[in-house]
């Protein structure tokens, strides 16, 4: 059964390794960037806040593929010579960062105002309130949305193949161009993506349910 898929599976799995590496880099760096930006928006002044709002608005309103192309073509223009893989990784980090920043803002806003007031009445400073009271509670609320964003990002790494970065989808297209076995290969690749994404998807749903019970 599925001889073409079987004989090309090692090649595809090699692509899957690249997909996973790209996903891990993008999700981890994007989360750090996004949480940092989101916290800055909560503690920073007006100018900083509107800059961050603009960043979030722009990147959330544009397709990730366009951001990838933008990165791919603008890094050389400013004198950076990056290969497609790195260019895509950097573009996606900035893109994912915007989504995580928005989620962080939401999570910080969702921590009840009573918490901040209680901390204030104890005489805590602004920075300390953020660090000791608001952030620990916000981080808990943030886990499920970040998992969902990670899921989105993993699927979006496949678009890197359009820009020319070699990973699972790129490998799949190569194999299909050589063998013409579109059904086997693309269905197989869908299953490989499914195996990568499904555990995360289950975790996100379980967490959402647990948080829903808490409140």
């Amino acid at each position: 059964m599925f001889p073409v898929l079987q004989s090309n599976l090692p090649y595809l799995l090699q692509g899957a390794v690249y997909t996973v590496i790209l996903s891990v880099i993008v999700v981890s760096c994007g989360t750090v960037l996004g949480v940092g930006v989101g916290v800055l928006a909560a503690v920073g002044g007006n100018i900083l806040r509107s800059l961050i709002t603009a960043y979030i608005f722009i990147f959330r309103g544009v397709p990730v593929l366009v951001v990838m192309f933008l990165g791919f073509y603008s890094f050389p223009a400013v004198g950076l010579r990056l290969d497609a893989y790195t260019a895509v990784a950097v573009s996606m980090i900035v893109y994912v960062g915007a989504f995580v920043a928005e989620a962080t803002r939401g999570a910080i806003a969702a921590v009840a105002a009573g918490q901040t007031e209680a901390a204030k009445s104890l005489g805590m400073r602004k920075g300390m309130i953020m660090r000791e009271i608001v952030l620990p509670q916000a981080m808990r609320l943030l886990i499920a949305p970040v998992l969902n964003i990670a899921l989105m990002a993993i699927k979006q790494t496949s678009y890197a193949s359009i820009v020319g970065a070699w990973e699972l989808s790129f490998a799949a297209r190569e194999v299909v161009e050589r063998t013409l076995a579109a059904f086997q290969i693309f269905l197989g690749v869908m299953i490989i993506y499914f195996v990568i994404c499904y555990p995360l998807s289950l975790a996100a749903r379980a967490l959402e349910k647990r948080l829903a019970f808490d409140h």
């Binding site: 678009y159 013409l180 998807s201």
Partner: protein
């Protein structure tokens, strides 16, 4: 900056065409996805057990694999079985198949969030199950999930950029072609990004007005 303006005015007609194609693809795919979502929740509402299982398997696969690969599957796979559809048709169908799954999940969560009493009250006044669903459950669920549906719609508009990968001359592909033709580099994609931003934020505004109106009337 000057170079950017010269470049932009020169290639504006091309971008306008790409913009129209992108809007066209979105305008075809969005209603198709919504219809498909409604079809997908029928088995659950009608309590066809095995069909419900089939639908949830389908939804999980769609939600956990990239749209691009699904689009490739249609575009490169269908000709092998003798079906030759245009790339626009393949793109629209692929988008509708995936976003239909997402939208049906949203509708399902809306239906689940309604109180059991809505069902009971409906049957208590002698309505059939189908009438309860049509007149009581679906309208309320729809109003409840309107914001989530709107967000998904914006994601759909952004996902139309993928049709460029199978050769539809939309905004994204126009950007790429312009670069190859003019030797400009990132300017083209700044223009493309601006066009998408206009499209998604205009849609966002319209959706917010609709939501506010619905909340005032039914909330």
């Amino acid at each position: 900056m000057d170079a950017f303006i010269v470049f932009f005015t020169r290639y504006l007609p091309a971008f306008a065409d790409g913009f129209l194609i992108t809007t066209w693809v979105a305008a075809l795919a969005a209603p198709a996805a919504m219809l498909w979502a409604l079809v997908l929740i029928v088995p659950r509402l009608a309590r066809w057990t095995w069909a419900t299982g089939l639908v949830s398997a389908y939804v999980e696969i769609m939600r956990n694999s990239p749209l691009l690969v699904q689009m490739y599957l249609l575009y490169f796979g269908l000709p092998l079985v003798g079906i030759f559809w245009s790339s626009i048709a393949c793109g629209v169908i692929a988008i509708a198949l995936q976003h239909g799954a997402f939208l049906s999940e949203i509708l399902r969560s809306g239906i689940q969030s309604l109180s059991q009493r809505q069902w009971e009250a409906g049957s208590a006044i002698g309505m059939r199950r189908s009438a309860v669903i049509r007149l009581v459950i679906l309208p309320q669920a729809f109003i409840k999930v309107l914001p989530a549906l709107g967000n998904q719609l914006i994601v759909l508009v952004k996902d139309t950029s993928l049709v460029s990968a199978i050769g539809v001359m939309d905004l994204t592909l126009t950007g790429k072609m312009t670069i190859e033709r003019s030797g400009a580099s990132f300017e083209a994609f700044i223009a493309v990004a601006a066009f998408y931003l206009v499209l998604t934020s205009a849609l966002g505004l319209v959706l917010r007005v609709i939501e506010a109106r619905a909340a005032r009337r039914y909330g």
